[in-house]
């Protein structure tokens, strides 16, 4: 089965700007559905979707689940705890079993980079990457783009800085590819020990001081700092991280303009972001969550497409 997006959504790096625009445009009418009294349309009636979460993730899983249910799909959640995954079943076995159960789509979250691709290469069902290791988290990237577009309109030339642990962040990678394809100027800022060594070849500006990033940017996408980075020796302490790289009201007050604040969540308040910034007037963090459902509905809807040769045959009628 092929759709305008192909069989799967594995990342934003392989997508064309037109494909990204199509997803964002398709998300627009889906926003309205979530505002209805009956928040449900029958578009995916009869489709079976498995949410395969090998990593704990409450908000992404719930967002996908709402999106699936609002499209009337039948969903099954498989979490890593209590599943055969814990009994040592390999991903390839899991894939074969899913295939044998004739499911239509799989939404996968996995700790290994490339896991979504691995699954997609082995099953005929559509696969949606809900975050694979430190590779990509495409629906998060798309909802960030949608949120930015809601506020800026066209993203061409808009200056967006991704702040924090870019090295271990799949959100950062999806954002970089997506923003660049939409014509935005992209920068990253964080301790050099938390940026990929080859970041210079990504075509982004690198700020080593957060003050410089704030002076430059029109929007900041602030990444969650995984607490285990400290024990692994990438940074000395959370306290120092907040002092040097934290996004605080004082720092933002010195900016030459109002800066839109995004955060993929969950937040470490007082570490990468201060509460009065997260809850402040320029924060669009909850708007991101709302857009997340619409984006995921759009992706599910677009991937659910049928076979093009039948589409041709069905066009004989006059109803459009």
């Amino acid at each position: 089965m092929t759709s305008a997006l192909g069989k799967d959504l594995l990342g934003l790096e392989p997508l064309t700007p037109d494909q990204i625009r199509l997803i964002l445009d398709t998300a627009e009418p889906f926003k309205e559905i979530s505002e209805r009294a009956i928040k449900k349309v029958p578009a995916l009636r009869g489709q079976t979707i498995v949410n395969l979460f090998f990593e704990a993730s409450t908000r992404t899983r719930i967002s996908f689940e709402f999106a699936e249910k609002r499209l009337s799909a039948d969903t099954v959640n498989v979490a890593s705890t209590g599943s055969s995954v814990q009994k040592g079943e390999t991903l390839v076995d899991t894939a074969r079993n899913l295939e044998a159960m004739r499911i239509d789509m799989v939404v996968i979250r996995h700790g290994a980079s490339g896991a979504a691709r691995f699954l997609a290469d082995r099953i005929e069902s559509n696969v949606i990457n809900a975050g694979d290791g430190t590779h990509e988290h495409p629906t998060q990237g798309l909802l960030d783009l949608l949120t930015l577009r809601d506020h800026f309109g066209d993203l061409t030339g808009r200056r967006v800085c991704i702040v924090g642990d870019v090295l271990h962040s799949r959100v950062a990678r999806s954002n970089i590819w997506g923003l660049k394809k939409m014509g935005a100027e992209v920068a990253v800022c964080g301790p050099r020990s938390l940026l990929p060594w080859a970041i210079g070849e990504f075509g982004v500006t690198v700020f080593s001081r957060v003050e410089a990033a704030i002076e430059w940017a029109e929007a900041l996408n602030i990444l969650r700092l995984q607490l285990e980075r400290m024990t692994a020796g990438y940074i000395p302490s959370l306290r120092e991280y907040n002092r040097v790289f934290g996004i605080t009201r004082e720092r933002l007050d010195r900016a030459p303009r109002d800066i839109l604040i995004l955060h993929p969540g969950p937040m470490n308040r007082g570490v990468e972001i201060d509460s009065d910034v997260a809850d402040g007037p320029h924060s669009v963090i909850l708007h991101q969550v709302t857009n997340g459902v619409a984006i995921r509905m759009a992706v599910l809807y677009l991937l659910a497409g049928g076979r093009p040769e039948l589409a041709e045959a069905a066009k004989g009628g006059s109803e459009r």
Binding site: L91, A112, S113, G114, G133, R173, P196, E201, F202
Partner: protein
């Protein structure tokens, strides 16, 4: 030996150890080289092999392979590995000691030798461990192991993290005149790494292994060889920086030698795109610039020899997430063709250099009685047809391992006869 003799007729004799390169016949009698060169008449006691269009050269020696026995006979055995070696044109291989249990004592070395004799294919020379259990602590009994037939020592698979241990090994090994082989990898820099650190690893979100993880150990080992006067042999070099450091060491007369694998000579980190686990190696595949430097180093002799690092895995071991898949590929049956296709045909090296790097140098550095077609020496001979084209089909490998990134590749060059001690152990097509 029966009284029968074997005549290799019509090939080109190529033996860099004697600066021999001429059309001529080769006569093998009683398992040794009886006559070489010119036109030799056959009598009724002689089997004649038509070698027209082929190169007849000293048998190839792979100083670096993993035969998995004892411990993982489901993955490879000494017998299957030795047969795969012969099929690839190798008359001898050196088996790395990272088996289960580790080859770190006289009895374990003797076991390998007995299994190899029983297999009756390529000769297998055991390599002993540097440290007991390859744990990087106490020295293994080099003398006992050499007495049983070990030809070198190595903790391959694991780097020697302790500089003190390597220094001691380099000093102690001198009594037995064996090389100490190091797998150069600074463990704290390489920790968790799955591929070369660069733009590809950054894009794929895979933990990278920087070039410096190798180069830091290369220079450490060279400096320790200088300090001790011992012979350090550096396994599977992968970076331009390593080549430069080895050149630096050799220029100063330090006893450093080095090897490179066919895959590091022919593939780059780009092979990891799409999370292809068949491209997951340790050391990792590097950049095109590194490949160019390694090829030059083979041509100019900075890198002494080509070794396969043959690392078979169970057929489904690579069927998993990239970060969790094991390192390594099989190499015995593709090495010759890769070197012919990717180095000789484009004109980077000539056939004489190929034979030197795959037969003469390995024999010389590891003090093996081979690597030459000199009269009276054991007749370990590889006859290969450089124009023979074939397609890599892993299902047809004699090795139990099928893990190769070259499946489906069309290559030139194939061993037509592999002759060991005068006995034809492999002939193409069966």
């Amino acid at each position: 030996m029966s009284g029968r003799r074997t005549l290799l007729r019509g090939g080109t004799l190529l033996d860099p150890s004697q600066s021999l390169q001429e059309r001529g016949d080769l006569l093998i009698a009683d398992g040794t080289i009886a006559r070489a060169g010119g036109s030799i008449e056959a009598d009724e006691h002689t089997d004649v092999l038509d070698c027209t269009g082929t190169l007849v050269c000293p048998g190839f020696i792979d100083v670096h392979c993993h035969l998995r026995e004892p411990g993982r006979e489901d993955v490879e055995t000494i017998a299957t590995g030795a047969r795969a070696a012969a099929a690839g044109g190798f008359t001898a291989v050196c088996a790395m000691p990272n088996t289960e249990p580790v080859t770190d004592n006289q009895a374990a070395v003797g076991f390998i030798i007995r299994q190899a004799l029983r297999a009756g294919a390529a000769r297998v020379h055991p390599i002993g461990a540097i440290s007991v259990g390859q744990r990087g602590e106490a020295l293994a009994e080099f003398g006992e192991m050499v007495g049983a037939g070990a030809v070198a020592v190595s903790d391959d698979g694991r780097p020697v993290a302790s500089a003190h241990l390597l220094r001691t090994a380099l000093e102690y090994a001198q009594a037995f005149d064996i090389p100490v082989i190091d797998h150069c990898e600074e463990p704290t820099l390489a920790r968790g790494g799955a591929m070369n650190e660069g733009v590809v690893s950054a894009r794929l979100g895979l933990t990278g292994i920087p070039s410096e993880a190798e180069e830091i150990m290369v220079i450490r080992d060279i400096l320790l060889a200088r300090r001790t006067g011992g012979h350090v042999h550096l396994a599977h070099m992968s970076t331009r920086g390593s080549v430069e450091l080895i050149r630096w060491g050799k220029d100063r007369g330090i006893r450093v030698t080095a090897e490179v694998t066919p895959h590091h000579l022919t593939l780059t980190e780009d092979a990891c795109e799409g999370y292809d686990t068949h491209a997951k190696m340790n050391p990792p595949l590097r950049t095109a610039d590194d490949v160019a430097a390694l090829r030059e180093a083979v041509a100019d002799g900075t890198i002494d020899l080509i070794a396969t690092d043959h690392a078979p895995h169970h057929y489904d071991a690579k069927e998993r997430e990239f970060a969790d898949a094991p390192f390594g590929i099989v190499g015995l049956e593709t090495a010759l063709a890769l070197v012919v296709t990717e180095l000789v045909k484009p004109g980077l090296i000539d056939f004489s250099t190929l034979v030197d790097r795959m037969a003469c140098r390995p024999a010389a550095l590891f003090h093996l009685p081979a690597g030459t077609l000199a009269l009276g020496r054991a007749a370990d001979v590889t006859v290969f047809d450089p124009a023979h084209e074939w397609t890599v089909e892993p299902d047809r490998f004699l090795s139990k391992g099928r893990n190769t990134p070259y499946a489906g590749r069309r290559l030139s060059g194939r061993a037509v006869y592999t002759i060991i001690g005068g006995k034809i152990v492999h002939r193409v097509g069966g």
